[in-house]
Structure formats: structure tokens, C-alpha cells
């Protein structure tokens, strides 16, 4: 059987191979975005990488980084009288302390799966005697749509609409990982007794294409300038992902830290001005809780004072609780790149896509789900 291999693809592969060989130690690159994680597996590119290049999945799957306390709040809201929950599908099965939204729905809670924030507002129009609570989850990719919806609700005086704010920002989380982990991958590798901390030492970031369309490539400046880590923005086609890795390897070999963009047709330096302005009008940055990472300063969005009456927590007087994650679940370390899914004692045993314990196994873009679905590692161990 033959596959269609464009010549420049082969050339890039050899360059990546040669550079990683010259670097001569383990090279660790974080792909921040869940869509990248899945695309690496789905395209087969993951199986073709140099042996000493390790891809580390980052905190870029919206469902995976949602703290348990927010799932619990959503479930509390679902149990309120005359409340309809409108949510993206991935959130349904994430287990909180009181079960999942899916279970609440089977028990009679009114939970609608929707595909856009605007549809949540339509539901509010259609159900005037109930309050529709939209679970506002996601990074800068989905936050502008939430902002636009809130403006529309205000303009039209739709008061039976509220949002549970769970929006998060990508760059502060990347910075937090770097503040927390060892700074120098080369050193961590040389004295590595393969402790979990060494696992997080990163040589660079493959930055997410979708989010970058909104925030612009310049948003990663702090990673490069403050933390001295190479950043390359890439799309999701195998060619683009491979190009991203080649650009990272060049920088790592040179000992450089530059901001590069191999997704230039789509991602501009300054991002989408309209979307950014929408977010500025409606949201303010806030310290928010991330799953297993704890509270990260200025890493999320909440409603600005003018729009705070749309905040579901306030409207229903729900107090944010604590997280009580299953102590055996290592999702938190997985999304920080400290361990690989197979190192979690629950992986593929108690925790599977059918019986997820941690959020990384729920979302189709979750690291654990991707490993479970496409992973050779566990299957090949048997072969």
C-alpha cells in the first residue's frame, strides 16, 4: 500500500529528525491545544516523530481545565426550579461531586445541548417563564460569542438569561506552568531520575491555531521574552503541525527563543479586533480556578460590573465551593504535562470514555481520551 507523501513533507521530516539527533537529548514540546493533541494522533504524525522528541499535551482542552467546583455549580443550578441549563455537549458527562449533568438530566433536570451561545439566548426567548443558564466554557475561541450574546440580551431586555462564567485565557496558564515547573529542560534531562517534575520541563510551545486567530500571535510575547521559551503558532493540518515542530527544533538547536507563526494566512499578529473589543466591553480579567492547577492570577474572565446581573452564581446565590477530585486521578498532572495518561493508575482501568473519572477522559479532545482512542502505547505493549 502506498500513501500520498508530498516531497516537502518528507524533507521537513528529515530536517526534524536531523535536528533532534543533533540536539542529542530528550526534547519536550508542549502542544497547548486539545485539537492539536487529537490531530497529531488522528493524522498519524505522532507515530512518525523522532524518538527523542516528546509531545506534551497542555491545558488547552476547555472541558479538561474546568474546575470541579464549576461543574458542581452547574449541577446546583440544574437542580433549581424553573431553570434550563444550556451547555456544549462535552460538558454533559464530566463528573462533579454530585454526579454529572448527564445523570441530572436523566433524573429530570432540564438540560439542553446547544452548539452556540446564541442558541442559548433563543432558548430564553422560547421559554419566557424559565431562566436559561448558559455554561460559558472555553478559551478566547468561544468567549467573544458569549460576550456578543450578553450584549444582545441587554439590548433586547431579555432578563431570563444568565451565564455561568467558566471562560479561561490561554497565555496566563502557559506562564503559570513555566513559573511552576523546572526552567531548563536540558538540565532536567541531564540529572533526570525521571521524577515527575522533570516531566514538565519544556523546550517550547506549539501554540494553538484557533485561539491565536482571536488573540493574535503577539499574545505569546511574554512566553518568549519573560520565560525565554520558543513559541510557534501552527494550524491543524499535518504539514502545518510538522512545520511548527521544525521551526521549534531550529530554535531549540540554536538556543534561541523567538515568536514564529507558520499559520500566517489565518493568524495575524494582533488577532481579531472585533472579537477582542467584544470581550473588553463585557468581561474583566479575574483570578480563576483551573482544574488541578488551582487559582491562577488573571487567568479567566468574569462579567464586568455593568453586566454582572447576568451572572448565574449571583442571581441564584450560589457560592463557589472547593474541589474534591478523586485522589487517584492524575488529570491535573496530565494537563500540566507532568505525566502521560498511561502513568495514571486509573487510565484504561477504572477510567475509560464510558466511565470517565477525570475530565481528560470525557472530552473528545481530552488528552486521556485521545490516548485511549488512538494510542498505540497500551495496545502495543501487548504486541
Amino acid at each position: 500500500m502506498t500513501a500520498c507523501v508530498p516531497p516537502s513533507f518528507a524533507a521537513m521530516r528529515s530536517e526534524l529528525e536531523a535536528r533532534c539527533a543533533r540536539i542529542g537529548r530528550r526534547v519536550q514540546v508542549m502542544e497547548v491545544c486539545g485539537t492539536h493533541t487529537v490531530s497529531f494522533f488522528r493524522s498519524g504524525l505522532r507515530s512518525m516523530l523522532p524518538a527523542n522528541l516528546r509531545l506534551v499535551s497542555g491545558p488547552g482542552c476547555p472541558v479538561c481545565v474546568t474546575a470541579q467546583r464549576h461543574i458542581d455549580a452547574a449541577i446546583r443550578l440544574a437542580m433549581e426550579e424553573r431553570v434550563i441549563i444550556a451547555t456544549y455537549g462535552d460538558m454533559l458527562r464530566v463528573p462533579g461531586r454530585m454526579g454529572s449533568l448527564e445523570r441530572r438530566r436523566a433524573a429530570g433536570a432540564r438540560i439542553f445541548v446547544i452548539n452556540s451561545a446564541r442558541r442559548a439566548l433563543e432558548l430564553a426567548r422560547e421559554h419566557a417563564n424559565e431562566t436559561v443558564v448558559f455554561l460559558a466554557v472555553g478559551f478566547e475561541t468561544t468567549a467573544p460569542a458569549t460576550a456578543a450574546t450578553i450584549l444582545e440580551a441587554e439590548r433586547e431586555g431579555i432578563e431570563n438569561f444568565a451565564v455561568l462564567m467558566c471562560h479561561k485565557l490561554v497565555v496566563p496558564a502557559m506562564c503559570a506552568l513555566l513559573d511552576d515547573g523546572p526552567k531548563d529542560a536540558a538540565r532536567a534531562d541531564s540529572d533526570h531520575t525521571a521524577g515527575s517534575a522533570a516531566g514538565a520541563a519544556l523546550d517550547g510551545f506549539l501554540c494553538p491555531g484557533h485561539v491565536s486567530v482571536i488573540i493574535g500571535s503577539q499574545a505569546y510575547r511574554p512566553i518568549v521574552e519573560v520565560h525565554g521559551k520558543p513559541c510557534v503558532v501552527a494550524g491543524f493540518e499535518p504539514m502545518q503541525m510538522l512545520a511548527g515542530l521544525v521551526h521549534l527544533a531550529r530554535q531549540i538547536e540554536e538556543g534561541a527563543a523567538r515568536l514564529e507563526n507558520v499559520y500566517e494566512g489565518v493568524v495575524s499578529p494582533d488577532g481579531n479586533a472585533v472579537a477582542l473589543e467584544l470581550m473588553r466591553r463585557v468581561f474583566v480579567e479575574a483570578d480563576v480556578a483551573w482544574r488541578a492547577l488551582g487559582v491562577i492570577p488573571q487567568s479567566g474572565l468574569e462579567l464586568s460590573p455593568r453586566y454582572r446581573r447576568f451572572d448565574a452564581m449571583r442571581r441564584f446565590g450560589i457560592v463557589e465551593g472547593d474541589d474534591e477530585d478523586d485522589p487517584a486521578c492524575r488529570c491535573g498532572e496530565v494537563i500540566q504535562g507532568k505525566v502521560e495518561p498511561a502513568q495514571c493508575p486509573l487510565f484504561a482501568g477504572r477510567c475509560t470514555p464510558l466511565t470517565p473519572i477525570g475530565p481528560c477522559m470525557v472530552s473528545s479532545e481530552g488528552t486521556c481520551a485521545a490516548w485511549y482512542r488512538y494510542g498505540r502505547a497500551m495496545k502495543e505493549a501487548a504486541r
Partner: protein, 367 residues
């Protein structure tokens, strides 16, 4: 209310053009005059045949010697009508195809209609008409049936997590089918051997993506259409070609991935497939990318996966391509003896990955 009921009972058969505002009411399922009127006016005219028109409690079919194959399936799709088909066409083709891949020539179907209160009669008429057309295409008769009406459900999400489609009122269909086992079919999963060729009869994922695109309000340059079609003609050609067909399955829910995972697991063999050989429409590739869905585990309703002895692969392919439903048939992989049994995909860029049975229905991703 009474006048509305009366007007429905009173309407003579065939007067279907002026019913735009008329809807199913609970009494249509009561088994009385209203039920009989509904069947006479809206079901029989389009499906009429001797066995059905007798309106007995069952149908009597002449049966020559040989083996009988029986199957049943229920259809609950939303939206009821979609690009390329509707629930009626699906209910005929799904059951016909289950018979066909078993190596049977379909003979007759039963038709159970479960209608929701409020369903517009014009929708029912369109769907029954579509059932008639599909049954004609497949060369089967609907010989017995049943009609029930259920109370209107509250506007609520369906069990698969999606919102209901545009039509708020729904219907469900159950069909059972009987067929005669063909003399030229020797379909047994145990006969699959390493080296055998894996063939698909055409482009994959069209049905699932057409439905998902509609549910998600996505529009693409080339609108995707469901591939729902009766496969008994195509499969007849394949079997008549004399190719040694070891096993067949229609790749419905779970898609190609589901079928191959079953074969691998049950027969204990590995399967290697080549992504660049798998026929996929550009619009389907685009839609899958937008929705974050895997083409290999997306549903088809008019595609067969056949496992054929390697020496006969060419002959099988020629037979399939000679039929209008098989013009894009392709050999996409082969059975191997690698252990443990796995399905492995050689990707377009010559990488490799495991293909697993999907677990439940895929949901479009958030971003």
C-alpha cells in the same frame, strides 16, 4: 376538537393535497374508525398490495423451500427529513440492507408507525410516499403494519444529547423484514483469512455528516446528502460475480471503524487499512473537520463493507463498480495475522494509528 376529528375521518382516500394544517391527534391511535380512516387515507394508497390491503392481523406469504432470514430495526432519527432522505426511506433501506448483508434477497417488510400527537399529516404523507419509493427500489412489499399515537412529548433534548430538529413533533418507525437466503452466499466470519481484501462500496460518512451538519446549522459549498439506499441490488451483483465473499456488513452506526473492530475482535485477526484509498467526498472531509468528528466512525446508510478472498478482489470490485451505487467502490485494506488483533490505519502522511470502535455517539467539539 370534534369537528377537526370528523373532518379527518370524513376525508376520502387520496385527498391529500388540502391537509396542510391537519395534524395527528391521540384518537388516531385508538384503534377505532379514526385509525382505520388514517390508514385508509394516508398509508394504503401509497403502499397498496394484495397482502397489505387485506388488513388482516398478519400477512400470509408463499414461501419456497430454503432458509428464511428475519431481521428488525427501529428508527428514531431527527430531523425526520434530511438532505438525501427521511425516516421512511431509512426504515426501508436499513432493514433491507440488514437482510442483504446476511446474503438474503429481501421479500417483505412489516411497518410499525409510532406517531406523535401533533405531527402534520402532510409530513406523514411525504414519509409514507418515501417508504413506497424506497420499497419499490428495493423490490420489496410492505405486507403488514401497525399504527400507534403517543402523547406529544415536552420540548426536550433527545437521548443522544442533541436538541430536536425543526419539526417539534416526531415519529418513530419499526420495520421487520424477511428474506430468502441466496444459494450463492457463504458468509461466515470464520472464513475470513489473513490476506483477504477489505472493500467498501463507496464514499464514507455521508449520512452521519449530513445529519450532524443539519443539526448544527452548518452549510457547506456542496451540501452533503445522506447516502441512504437499498443495497440488495448492489450486493446481488457482487455475489453473482462469483467472487468469494467471506463476510459483509453495512457500515451504519459506528461506521467503518465499528465494522472492522467487530471483525478483528470476533475473528481474532488484524486489519490494515490505507487512508488514501478510502473514498471520502471533499464536502464530508470539510464537515468532519469543522465538527471535530472522525470520518471512520461516522454513520453510513448505503455502504457495504465486504471481505473478499484476495484473488477475487478485482472481480468483486468490477462487479460493484458496474452498479450505480458502487461506482466509487475501492479496496481499502487487508486482513493480516498480526497479534494481538488490532485495526490499524496507514495515514495519508504514512503515519500509523489504531482504529477503535467508537464509544457512544461523538459530540461536536467546543472550539
Amino acid at each position: 376538537m370534534k369537528t377537526e376529528l370528523e373532518s379527518m375521518v370524513a376525508r376520502p382516500a387520496g385527498a391529500v393535497s388540502s391537509i396542510a394544517d391537519e395534524r395527528i391527534v391521540l384518537a388516531h391511535g385508538g384503534g377505532g374508525e379514526l385509525t382505520a380512516g388514517l390508514v385508509r387515507a394516508h398509508v394504503l394508497p401509497q403502499l397498496a398490495n394484495e397482502a397489505l390491503s387485506a388488513l388482516g392481523d398478519g400477512a400470509v406469504l408463499d414461501w419456497p423451500s430454503g432458509s428464511l432470514v428475519l431481521t428488525t430495526d427501529s428508527y428514531v432519527v431527527t430531523p425526520l427529513e434530511f438532505a438525501g432522505g427521511d425516516i421512511g426511506r431509512l426504515a426501508v433501506c436499513g432493514t433491507v440492507n440488514d437482510l442483504a448483508v446476511m446474503g438474503a434477497q429481501p421479500v417483505a417488510l412489516s411497518l410499525g408507525l409510532i406517531l406523535e400527537e401533533g405531527l402534520p399529516l402532510e409530513v406523514l404523507d411525504r414519509i409514507v410516499s418515501s417508504i413506497a419509493t424506497a420499497a419499490d427500489e428495493a423490490g420489496v412489499r410492505v405486507v403488514t403494519g401497525d399504527t400507534k399515537v403517543i402523547e406529544r412529548r415536552a420540548a426536550a433534548p433527545t437521548s443522544n444529547g442533541d436538541e430536536r430538529g425543526t419539526a417539534r413533533e416526531g415519529m418513530f418507525i419499526n420495520t421487520a423484514g424477511v428474506g430468502r437466503l441466496r444459494g450463492d452466499a457463504r458468509l461466515e466470519i470464520e472464513r475470513i483469512e489473513p490476506g483477504d481484501a477489505v472493500i467498501v462500496s463507496g464514499t464514507l460518512a455521508d449520512h452521519g455528516l449530513a445529519i450532524m451538519s443539519m443539526r448544527n446549522g452548518l452549510e457547506f459549498d456542496t451540501p452533503l446528502r445522506s447516502d441512504v439506499a437499498p443495497l440488495n441490488g448492489l450486493i446481488g451483483r457482487l455475489l453473482e460475480s462469483g467472487a468469494d465473499v467471506r463476510f459483509m456488513r453495512d457500515a451504519t452506526r459506528g461506521g467503518l471503524a465499528g465494522v472492522l473492530a467487530d471483525v478483528s475482535e470476533r475473528r481474532g485477526v488484524s486489519i490494515e487499512i490505507d487512508e488514501s484509498a478510502i473514498p471520502i467526498l471533499p464536502a464530508a472531509r470539510h464537515a468532519a473537520e469543522m465538527l471535530g468528528l472522525d470520518l471512520l466512525s461516522t454513520a453510513n446508510e448505503g455502504k457495504v463493507v465486504a471481505i473478499v478472498a484476495a484473488r477475487d478482489a478485482r472481480r468483486a470490485l468490477a462487479a460493484l463498480r458496474g452498479h450505480t451505487l458502487g461506482t466509487r467502490a475501492a479496496v481499502i485494506g487487508r486482513i493480516t495475522d498480526a497479534q494481538p488483533p488490532l485495526v490499524e490505519l496507514l495515514t495519508r502522511i504514512a503515519g500509523r494509528r489504531i482504529v477503535q470502535r467508537p464509544y457512544g455517539e461523538d459530540l461536536p467539539r467546543i472550539c
